[in-house]
Symmetry: D2
Subunit: 290 residues, 4 copies
């Protein structure tokens, strides 16, 4: 990233009312910030206003802490909920997997190509199978098997690792275990899961078998933030692919891999680029501008 | 349709075993039929074989009845389930609607442009609103209101009309009433419904409201044969469109209309072109060759 | 349209520089306008800034003329190029066709369903074939045949009609004549054409034949503003559909009709909803919010 | 691959005439082969017939050579052009790259996951940049730089390598050099190239810049067999992705990478699964059945 491309990003939400845009844009203008990009959304049903503001980091004449304190005072006055991100910070990502490698390969490749701006700090798995891939890319790999009995204990170990590695985001890249509500609650908005079905259809196990049984003509995948209730978290992205009678459940699974990796990568990228705002059980995902 | 384009179409299914293709193609070859197109599918899980054979009608040297009797004898020997269609026959179609016009307009326009080869013999509605469209296109319109109490009586009237007009196919083009199991049973495989959701997600009422609540990133529509259980019949076609947070339930509904009309038209066309074979709760839909 | 949904829409473009958003949003805020929706785009290569602002018409306390004069003064100061639209005004549309009916049917149906907010004031054709459709919908139809020799004369008659009917937008719905540069120049930004190919591929005549010859695996359609150079005007929307070896040029044409009508309708809708800003040979098309 | 899944595949083409299907299916039936899958296509414009037949390898009671000699005699009699493939043979693939890694990563990952049934025997590049990836996966890497002057010499080295490694298929995975007609001629039907544009639009260099300039609303990629004329070879697969005004040429390039890797992988897979028949400058690509 060249200096020219460095950005400060504010994600803001509040109750909808007149003048927010004017007040906010003027606040930045008066401090000599150039608003590189500003996107908004009003949910009229919820009466909720959402805004993403991208500033040129060159215009930053204070410390980051000062900027945030300064803006914090303004936000209090207008009752804004907000976050501030800096595009030169590389989020630290943990990937959790089981035995299937396609999403893992894809995330690593995209990171290496510069499309996912992050560090893949470690890989955690309940199976040893994918350690070979971790080794190829010299990423620390932790094999933490889990049984029904050892679930709490294993999750505690996972959480210890996430803390030790100072992880910002957990990506469940076909991790075939259900995380406990305690876990997902603690990491709310920081766990992205790929479900290999077009939610809310085909929740739970064996979605491709379910799809075959129902005779659907398209199959899909859904990337969502993990929530305490299984497969119910806020959806970030979905996609589908056309299928026909030629495909058995295994055929659907093979074809579906392509959608899974694409959807998961898009969701992770949107998160890393600070383009997502959550409200209740929905997401506002602002478009990319490149 | 020029004489050159006239086709005889056989739809065949049977238990899978060796030699069916050889026996069938040889049967037609020995009678000097040119097999213009032959499509097959084997469902290995069900052990079921499906075949669609298109013959040049020029090669017909007997009466249609003789051809069918002759083939019937062969089919008995090999235990085939089969149908025979002639592309110069215009199926007689009844369209059932309520208040929404987009699918109705679309079907009529496609019929008039020659893309749906059929007669639209009558329109039946439980509301008077769309009579004006029927009149524009000089199609008989029957207004048959329905209440919970009068349902059986109204359906009897509908069935009388279908018989009187010698109807081959009923298209539910956003007919917002649930047909009784008795009705759908009697017309099995001859009623195509458009559901304004991506089945099996969003069954039942208000799918666009459900989609908004769940925060999905794509919405879809599903055309299926009506069966005794609501929204559970064999799916013929599905499609989706990408949506985002900008759309309210009404916005989703508006955007969804486009998918609904497209999916319904494709399903009706596949049926009219004798490209669908049903088995259990699934369909084999052979591709078009034009 | 209920009073609640009435909007004032400003389309603005200018050289990019700091403070435009702040100045503009504050200008409206100070006059007690609620900015219902604000969308922006900066083209960094061109150094150009684009903005679409949607206001609640309830907040209008002056005449429309006063608002425009008032804003005009502000715009001069900041060197803005701008237009102002009112969503309660129904644009007057002329549709030009030749022999093919699918786009015409589709536009009329969408207008009748309320998805295209406009009046279809007249239909002009160089062939008499589609008069029957005009009559069905009681839309004035003008048959103006054209030969190479009579082209100038025919175009003069067309322009007279457009003036007499006070037309705002001309839609070329498969009008198979090339308009003269003089015509397109005079109606710049007010003629939308559908090209039955994925521009810039397959320019000129017989795109489906060209597509067959080249053996492409997808075919498409392109809606664009007509410009003085054939098939070179600013693109508004494009879409494609997957095809395969099964389709002859005629088959491609039949399958393509669906894409053509969809793309044309989307482009006309974007124009009617004041969501398009042109700059040089490109368009900024802001997303719909419904 | 379990023994159950092993298949013998015949790809056949000939002038269209009556009785080919009957004769061919009977030929196999008489030798006790089960036809697992049979797909056909008739190009009525060219008067050409295409067939793909999949047999169960269990039914092979002779040597492969005997089968081929035996079928060869039959094929001569009917004037068939044909190839025979065995699904237990792993094609030997050479990947040629320059500096961009996304397609290379993707092909290797898919091979490792079992979706591309082949050996990636070597990687050849005119730049040293991607050697690190080759090393990670322990694939031989040959750095063969090229200048205008050394082109013939470099190509000779490439061809020597292809022979030494007994290569069946060359994949140009963003190899940014134009192969000489002599090279492509010698390897006709055995070189698959990915072009980062929707052919025939945007041929030649910098397709994303061209796409930006033209203001298109979708960008695409095209996988095709390399032919003597640049970007003119038979197309195997294409796909597109929707874009908008937000994307600069670099943004288009980033978004396009996803389409490129998907399209290239699909084309390579179709080739490896013996699902492609070429005729003149077009391909028949039979659908997958899994």
């Amino acid at each position: 990233m060249t200096d020219n491309q460095k950005k400060i990003i504010f994600l803001i939400q509040c109750e909808d009312r007149k003048g927010i845009l004017s007040a906010t844009s003027t606040w930045f203008f008066q401090r000599s910030y150039n608003i590189v990009h500003c996107q908004q959304h009003t949910d009229n049903i919820e009466g909720r206003y959402f805004m993403r503001i991208e500033l040129d980091m060159h215009d930053l004449k204070t410390t980051r802490k000062e900027l945030e304190e300064d803006f914090g005072a303004f936000a209090n006055q207008y009752n804004l909920t907000w976050e501030c991100h800096y595009s030169d910070y590389n989020a630290r990502v943990a990937i959790m997997v089981s035995k299937t490698s396609h999403c893992l390969y894809d995330l690593i490749a995209r990171k290496n190509e510069g499309d996912l701006k992050c560090d893949i700090s470690l890989i955690i798995s309940n199976h040893p199978d994918l350690e070979v891939i971790a080794n190829q890319f010299r990423i620390p790999f932790y094999y933490l098997p889990v049984t029904n009995e050892s679930k709490a204990e294993q999750e505690a170990k996972v959480m210890t690792l996430l803390k030790r590695f100072d992880i910002d985001l957990v990506v469940l890249a076909r991790y075939m275990q259900i995380l406990s509500p305690a876990f997902t609650h603690q990491w709310q908005g920081k766990i992205i899961n790929i479900h290999h079905g077009f939610l809310p259809a085909f929740q739970g196990a064996n979605p491709y078998r379910q799809a075959y049984e129902r005779g659907v003509k398209m199959i899909g995948a859904t990337a969502h933030y993990a929530s305490e209730e299984l497969d119910q978290g806020p959806i970030i992205d979905q996609d589908v692919v056309r299928v026909n009678h030629e495909l058995s459940p295994n055929g659907l699974r093979d074809v579906g891999k392509d959608v899974e990796r694409r959807v998961l990568a898009k969701a992770v990228q949107a998160h890393l680029e600070s383009r997502i705002i959550m409200f209740k059980n929905r997401t506002v995902v602002f478009d990319v501008e490149r």
